[in-house]
């Protein structure tokens, strides 16, 4: 009964979606207020029905109802409860249901919080949003129905892929989807603006908070996925330039560019057409990512099942939305009026620079990801494009971007003084150079480039702090004035500085991996292995039993160079009888932001066991940086001018003077 209810709720959501896709659009065209207002209630009800459908599937999983094919294939009665919840989206059908749930959530949020949007814009946005939703409802109902029954219910399920039996599955996919799908709102706004043929600074002020929210989730979603891969796959790597990772990085790069160009549009009414195009591209890349991951074109842990009909269906959705939006863009964009003028050296110019490099970097990732697929379909030759390609293309584009980053917030709008800014950044240059020198002294010439990477990161942090110091008047003015100026500073200024510090932290963490140490050895009990001043002694091998697995645990004691015990590590190998598979559970020992990483290989007949041991200096900065970026985004989002649904032009006049750099 429950699965049928879930199925039915999804069909109802589709019916509501169809109404919402057409009614409000017609309402906006004929200026019919009743038709336009209808979108609010259908958007909310769509969310309610999709949520019911999702809840129904969750109930099937939690109660281990193996008469549902999807549950049978991806669950097991002995699985811990938390994984019964998370395995709802640990498979193709369920993950698509989560996708539409989040899509409907964003639609409902626009309906609920978009109170002061112009009626026609809101109606058009919700209609476009519903077009996307309908396409995916049909996709789920026709090709990926999670509610299909098995005639004779099996007694036991086939268990969830053991790699996915981890807390990471509870965190990474929902956050990533909130980001991916969140860009659908910017897309809908862009398409709605094109339908209306009208766009202004207020439009950017409405779009920015949604984009910012999606961007925050995507940032952390990607980085949590990276951390999960780092500790679960047992290789100690955090980014493999795998096509699936790239397909989440591309919308992130486009979304980051969009965030910055929307600032120019909001403040200076310039870059309108470009901003609209970016909004379309960011979500198009999300759709492309969905296609790459869900169609079975690529093989990875994210590809749950391959079924050609699904690939073709998603491709059709992709072509319809991207092609349609771009065609609409080509047709209507010339109607959008050109905005304000600015000199090449100005805050606007700096943001254009940012956009230029971000989109170009995005393009190189795009080429590296799709070239092998294109080549294979044309010539049949199979190639793999791995990390060397991206190190040679992506990194050189990010260096100028990061170098220019501190200049942006310090430059004045309209016409800036680049030499003056360079002078103000002198202290940041100085600490950057000191950092390079210190790194060289400590680490020697192991890597020539890496110290410069560290220096670049330190300089970016310095630049962000200088911006804050200048604006608050710290060291210049009495403390009380500083405090009141700091409190009066727009939150978006704090947000910018914090987010920029975050990316610099990630950079430092990534660069520092040049100095990571690795030992791969075979050890017998009581033997020791040393790395980076730590000595690990292998105490013994024991067995443990979990609810649905058995594991072989190796106990290690870690001592520092002084011989003091600093901790124990117990990496293990888990065997899951239901799927007859083994996973490696690495053990991590955190010292500051550095980590020792230990994972087990195979046991040999002579009682020894292979181990992989890494020392990863400053590695936690990579992910902490992304959390700091998200905090920056959150600060910006809490700016009163940007608060969702509160873009009052009057406020802008009140706070604008404070936004100018302190002269």
């Amino acid at each position: 009964m429950i699965p049928e209810l879930g199925h039915f709720a999804l069909v109802l959501a589709l019916a509501l979606g169809l109404v919402q896709a057409i009614g409000p659009l017609a309402g906006a065209h004929y200026r019919d207020a009743a038709l336009m207002r209808m979108a609010d209630s259908t958007a909310l009800m769509q969310f309610v029905f999709v949520a019911l459908s999702f809840a129904a599937l969750t109930v099937c999983y939690v109660t281990s109802d193996f008469s549902v094919a999807n549950v049978y294939e991806n669950s097991h009665s002995t699985m811990p409860l938390i994984y019964k919840y998370t395995s709802v989206w640990g498979n193709h059908e369920g993950s698509m249901l989560l996708w539409v749930l989040i899509l409907a959530l964003f639609g409902a949020a626009v309906a609920a919080f978009g109170g002061n949007l112009p009626a026609t814009l809101k109606a058009n946005v919700l209609a476009v949003q519903s077009w996307i939703a309908c396409a995916f409802y049909v996709f789920i109902l026709l090709t990926s129905n999670p509610f299909l029954r098995i005639a004779e219910a099996p007694l036991e399920g086939r268990d969830l892929n053991p790699i996915l039996q981890d807390i990471g599955l509870a965190i990474h996919p929902p956050l990533l989807y909130l980001g991916y799908v969140g860009f659908s709102i910017s897309f809908s706004f862009a398409v709605a603006a094109l339908i209306e043929g009208r766009i202004d600074a207020a439009w950017a002020r409405w779009v920015r908070p949604w984009t910012l929210a999606a961007w925050m989730f995507l940032t952390v979603g990607i980085s949590m996925g990276s951390y999960w891969a780092y500790y679960e796959l047992g290789w100690g790597g955090f980014w493999f330039w795998d096509p699936v990772e790239n397909s989440s990085l591309m919308p992130w790069l486009a979304g980051t560019a969009l965030l910055h160009s929307a600032v120019v549009m909001e403040k200076r009414n310039a870059l309108k057409i470009w901003t609209v195009l970016l909004a379309i591209l960011a979500f198009s890349l999300s759709l492309l990512g969905t296609f790459l991951v869900r169609s079975g074109v690529l093989t990875s842990v994210h590809t749950f099942a391959t079924d050609p009909s699904r690939g073709v269906f998603i491709l059709a959705i992709l072509v319809f939305f991207i092609g349609g939006a771009l065609a609409l863009f080509a047709w209507r964009a010339p109607l959008l009026k050109q905005g304000g003028l600015f000199a090449p050296v100005s805050r606007e110019g700096a943001l254009v620079f940012n956009n230029l490099f971000l989109t170009t970097a995005c393009l190189t990732v795009f080429v590296g990801t799709l070239y092998p697929l294109a080549l294979e379909s044309v010539t049949g030759e199979k190639i793999s494009v791995g990390p060397p390609f991206f190190n040679l293309t992506f990194a050189p584009l990010f260096i100028p971007l990061l170098f220019a980053m501190p200049f942006g917030p310090l430059l004045a709008w309209k016409r800036g003084d680049v030499l003056g800014v360079a002078e103000r950044l002198m202290a940041a240059f100085a600490v950057g150079i000191v950092a390079i020198a210190v790194t060289f002294v400590i680490k020697g010439g192991q890597s020539v480039l890496a110290p410069f990477g560290i220096g670049l990161g330190v300089y970016v942090i310095g630049g962000a702090l200088i911006d804050l110091v200048e604006r608050t008047g710290l060291f210049r003015l009495p403390l009380a004035t500083v405090r009141s100026r700091a409190a009066g500073l727009p939150r978006s200024v704090w947000g910018t500085a914090v987010a920029h510090i975050g990316i610099a932290m990630s950079l430092i963490g990534i660069v520092a991996q040049v100095w990571a140490d690795e030992r791969i050895v075979s050890l017998k009990p009581q033997e020791t292995v040393s790395i980076a001043g730590y000595t690990l002694s292998f105490d013994r091998l024991t067995q443990r039993t979990g609810s649905n697995f058995r594991e072989q645990v190796a106990k290690f004691t870690v001592r520092n160079s002084g011989g003091t015990v600093v901790g124990t590590m117990d990496p293990s190998k888990r065997t899951f009888p239901a799927r007859a598979t083994t996973t490696t559970e690495a053990s991590l020992l955190t010292r500051g932001t550095s980590q020792l990483y230990l994972s087990l290989g195979d046991a040999n007949d002579d009682g020894s066991i292979a181990v992989r041991l890494y020392h990863k200096p400053l590695v936690l900065l990579i992910w902490l940086g992304s959390v700091v970026m998200m905090l920056g985004g959150g600060l910006s989002l809490s700016d009163r001018r940007l608060r969702v649904g509160a873009p009052k032009p009057a406020k802008k006049a009140a706070t604008k003077p404070a936004l100018q750099p302190a002269e």
């Binding site: 294939e73 990875s300 090449p344 230029l356 393009l363 190189t364 190639i383 791969i520």
Partner: protein, 151 residues
């Protein structure tokens, strides 16, 4: 500065950055891509030793030998031809005889493949797609096995 001049600067710098990116991409594509070969491809194409490549197929049953200091040797087969592979290190959890595998490395003059990376599947249900295609090409792919892949 007129609007036109400004636009020229903008377009000029965009073209400049794109040109740099294109140069980087083309350079990197020449130097850093790795071709995938099945054992049959290697035998038939007479691939020159020393080229970096990926090979894929099944780990031949009974071919895995483990030596001192994490040395592993095995043979990759597509049913028609076998290629011996040497590797030093820890093989993935799902590396097993009779199962799909992809290895990256270089072919030695003697015909042995020296791998520096061994990839197995993420999950016991899947087979690397390259391996499936290689097996299909060699005619050793039975549709009955499709259950292993499509599910």
């Amino acid at each position: 500065m007129t609007r036109k001049q400004r636009r020229l600067i903008l377009i000029g710098s965009s073209v400049g950055v794109l040109a740099i990116a294109a140069a980087l991409v083309l350079g990197a594509l020449r130097d850093s891509i790795v071709f995938f070969n099945s054992p049959t491809d290697i035998v038939e194409k007479q691939t020159a030793p020393g080229t970096r490549m990926r090979i894929g197929g099944l780990v031949k049953a009974g071919s895995v030998e483990r030596g001192e200091n994490l040395r592993v040797s095995f043979a990759v087969t597509d049913g028609n031809h076998d290629i011996p592979v040497r590797y030093v290190g820890i093989v993935p959890d799902l590396f097993r005889e009779g199962q799909g595998v992809v290895a990256e490395g270089k072919l030695e003059a003697g015909g042995t493949f020296v791998a520096d990376m061994v990839l197995a599947k993420h999950d016991e249900n899947y087979m690397p797609r390259e391996v499936v295609d290689a097996l299909k090409k060699s005619g050793r792919w039975q549709e009955g096995e499709a259950g292993n892949v499509a599910k």
